[in-house]
Each structure stands twice: as structure tokens, then as C-alpha cells.
């Protein structure tokens, strides 16, 4: 058993219920559905590029607090980043959750997304945290 409060932190709770990234964007360059069939989690990510930079990103859909928070935090982190930087951050995040990257200094660039690090102690919820990131991986 894990310490549940280290998972459901204020940041996660706030982000899971925040709607600032939950919207439609006009004329997105790419849209992609992400699904966890066993949970019923479903998100739709929209991405708008400005040259090589992520100009805007938003999501719609439903899911558990972890998947919703993870999606919103990802959008906050990646908006304004270049495609290459975004790819690197997505890779680092996935590495953190899978415990392949454990170096604190390396993880620092994930900023708020580090709050999801303890999910790696909850194997049943790993796919919730990764849903948005895996979905975006296909879009970049």
C-alpha cells in the first residue's frame, strides 16, 4: 500500500478539476484520440503549431483525476515549446513514470509534471498518467 496523499496532492486535485485547458481550439493542425479501454478514459487532444513551436494545445474528454490532471499539466508544460523540446519532455516524462529516469536533476525540467512521479508506485494507474503523453507522442 502506498501513501495515497502523495498521489492525490493539491496540485493534482486542482489540475484534475481545472478547465483552463479543457476546450476546443480553432483550426487545430492535428487532433488525436487517446483511449484506455479498460478504464473507459477517453481524451481528444488538439494541437496548433506556429512554425516549429506549439502555439496552442487543448483537450476534451473524460477520465479519472490522474488522467485529467496529467493531461492538463502536460499542456501547461508544453505550450510555447519547440517540437524537439516537446519530444524530449514527453520522453523524459514517460521515462520518469516507467522508472527508467530517476535522476532528480534530469527530471527538474518537467516542472509541475514531477508531481506525478509517485504514480510509478501504483502500477494500476500508470496508464492513466501516460494516456495524454502517449497520445501526444504520436502527434509530434
Amino acid at each position: 500500500m502506498n501513501d495515497i496523499n502523495s498521489i492525490y496532492t493539491d496540485l493534482i486535485m486542482e489540475q484534475s478539476t481545472s478547465t483552463h485547458n479543457k476546450k476546443k481550439i480553432e483550426n487545430p493542425d492535428k487532433c488525436e484520440m487517446g483511449r484506455n479501454p479498460s478504464c473507459g478514459d477517453e481524451i481528444s487532444l488538439s494541437l496548433k503549431m506556429d512554425g516549429d513551436k506549439i502555439a496552442d494545445m487543448a483537450f476534451e474528454g473524460h477520465g479519472c483525476a490522474i488522467s485529467q490532471a496529467s493531461t492538463s499539466i502536460m499542456i501547461d508544460l508544453l505550450k510555447g515549446k519547440t517540437r524537439e523540446d516537446a519530444k524530449d519532455l514527453v520522453k523524459t516524462f514517460i521515462g520518469m513514470i516507467k522508472r527508467e529516469i530517476t535522476d532528480d536533476a534530469e527530471l527538474e525540467k518537467l516542472e509541475d509534471a514531477q508531481a506525478l512521479r509517485n504514480i510509478s508506485n501504483m502500477p494500476a494507474r500508470v496508464k492513466c498518467a501516460l494516456l495524454a503523453w502517449h497520445t501526444l507522442e504520436k502527434m509530434l
Binding site: 500500500m1 502506498n2 501513501d3 495515497i4 498521489i7 492525490y8 486535485m13 486542482e14 484534475s16 478539476t17 479501454p37 479498460s38 478504464c39 473507459g40 478514459d41 477517453e42 473524460h62 477520465g63 479519472c64 483525476a65 490522474i66 501504483m122 494500476a124 494507474r125 492513466c128
Partner: protein
Amino acid sequence: MENEDIRKDFEIFNNTDVAYLDSAATTQRPKQVIDAVKNYYNTANANPHRGNYALSLKSTEVYDEARSKVAKFINAQESREIVFSKNATEALNMLAYSYGMQNLQKGDKVVISILEHHANLVPWQRVTKQKEAKLEYMYINDEGQITDEEIEKKITPGTKIVGITHVSNVLGTITPVEKIIKKAHSVGAVVVLDASQSVPHRKVDVQKLDADFVVFSGHKMLAPLGIGVLYGKAELLEKMPPFLLGGDMIEYVQEQSATFAEIPTRFEAGTQNVGGAIGLAAAIDYLQKIGMEKVEKIEQELLIYAKEQLENLSYVTVYGPKDINQRASVISFNVKNIHPHDVSSILDSVGVAIRAGDHCAQPLIHYMHVPATCRASFYIYNTKADVDRLILGLNKTYEMFKKWI
């Protein structure tokens, strides 16, 4: 409650501090079952039906005894009507591929209910597609029950197979199988009864029900994983082609052709799970010693208590029939504005094991217009203290989320 003594037989509860409320997924096993399996491997293990030596004969004998025990338990007419399988899923696949492929014609109808587990649904999708037959659903009312009108409307001439669960693994609904079977027979259809959630919990008499095929899994009734049962009326099984081909299920094999063994061996290709069958027989002994009426009574007492406690929580919605006599000890519910997976994770942190998700019944979950549900299910070893722990856990969950939702 009169089950403190029963609980003592389940050593897992000495080793793990858990309110185990997921018996609809798989049950725990009492030491009597574990000992019987161990004893088989220590005293009688050999390949049954093969050797001419004492150990193989012993293995054959105990395997056959297990078959007779299962036959008596569900009141089959003869033990050759019992085919051992890996689980209910394999038994249902066997029926779809063997009976379904043989008997369905273009334009025929297979009628199932929206309550079905994927195991009694996806195989019928494939077979009806291949045979260009139609797959139709009996839907449920607001309480999760199949009405008489729905039965009359859907089971009509042209229906060849009706697949129905005896008890919903999501809502706990006890379906009107007697009516469904009668109606199906009146239009010349056979009935495949998924009894995975009923045989472990109440007396099921296959002759009284007049069901044509009945399937269930051992692991949902105290037996080891990997043993299940397909019951079929002898006259139906006899006409069916084998599903899996290989050792032991044959009669004569020549280079280009083969003939097959009599039932039930025809449907048991390869070396069988004798240890599992012995475990299932021990589980049946264990349940019969308690008595199925008492099993039902213990569970109903828990169900009534749990349903009341859950309904007292203003933030909880309980699904399924209101009438307690139409429900078995499975309760699906949701906590207002909190996703079932968050609920189950927080419950896990206080040692309460429930299931969250679609329960292998996605069409039903879609029909209910919910993303998923939480499910608590009970068995003979559960106590009111387990329910109290669930309620405490739910209060904790709601407290944690309250300010954010």
C-alpha cells in the same frame, strides 16, 4: 452473521489485512480446497486415461469422480453431460464455434442480453458475422431488469440461440431465466446460460431450469484457477463436432482422417487439468457442507446491509434492481463526480479491494451512460465489518475530493 467459522478456513485473511469485496472476479480458496489439490499431486498424480498402471488409473478415477460430483451439484441427468474446460469463457467459445457454427444459417437470429459479459457476447459476434446471422439484444429497464415485453419482443421465430446470464456480473440482477428458457423453447431455440455468477451462490438445478447449455468457472466458487464447466444436454452434445482437436478426444486416427470419442471426452482434447477438477470437487464439498441455502442467506444478509449503508451516503448512486429478491450479492455504484478508478485507488489505500471499470461488459456500461462503475461483491467469508470498512473508505474518498469537485 453465522460465518466467523467459515472465514477461519481462508488463510489469506490471516496473511493479508483486506476487506476483499471482489469475489465476482475471483474468490479466495479455503484450506480444504488447497489441501485437496496438494493431496492429489502428492498421492494420485499421473496422466489420466493414458497409462495402464495404478497411478494413472487412480488419476482417471478421481477425475471421473470430480465429474460426477459436478453433475450432482447442478442436478445433471448424467455425468457425461459435464465437460471440463479452462473456465466459462472457454466453454462459451466451445459452444459458439461448435454448436453455433454447425447450426446457424444465413438470416437466423442469436438473441443475447445487454447484460452479458464479453465472454457471452464477442464469440456470438464472430459466429453470427461468419454465418451471416443476426445478433440481437434484449435490453433492460431502468432498474437493470429484462422485462416480459422485451423477452416477447426479441425471442421470436427465427431465433436459434439465446445467450443469457443468470446473474449480471455488473448489476447483480437475477434475470428471469425460467421465462426466457420457456420462450426460447417455444420458438425452437436453444439456451446458453452463463451461470458464472449464480452457481457459486445459489442452488442451480439444470433439469428444473430445462437449460440446454450451462457454463460456469471454478475460480468464482472457491476452486483453483483454470477449471471450468460446460453442461450440455446429452442429446445436444452428442450431435456437436469437437472444438479442439488432439490427444484423447479421438477414436481412430488415420493419415488423412479421424473419428472422435464419445462425449464428454470428445470435448476434452489434450491432458486435462485434473488438479483443478479435484479442487472444484473439494469446493463443491465445502459449499454443500455449508448448504447452498445458507450460502444464499449469508450473502443476502450482507447485500441488504451493504445496500442500505451505501444508499445512506448522499453522494453515492447505487445501480440495479430495487427489489432485493431480484439481486444477487453484487453491487455497482458510483460516487458523485469522482471517477471509479480514483475511488478504488483510495479504497485500496485503506485495505478495501473493490473492482472499478467496465467489468468486461462494455456494451452494458455504454447503455447505462456511465464511464465505468465501482463494484463490490460478496461471498461466504465476508462480514459486516468488511462493509463498514468500505463505507469508511468511501467517506475518506469523498472528504479528499470534496473541496475540488
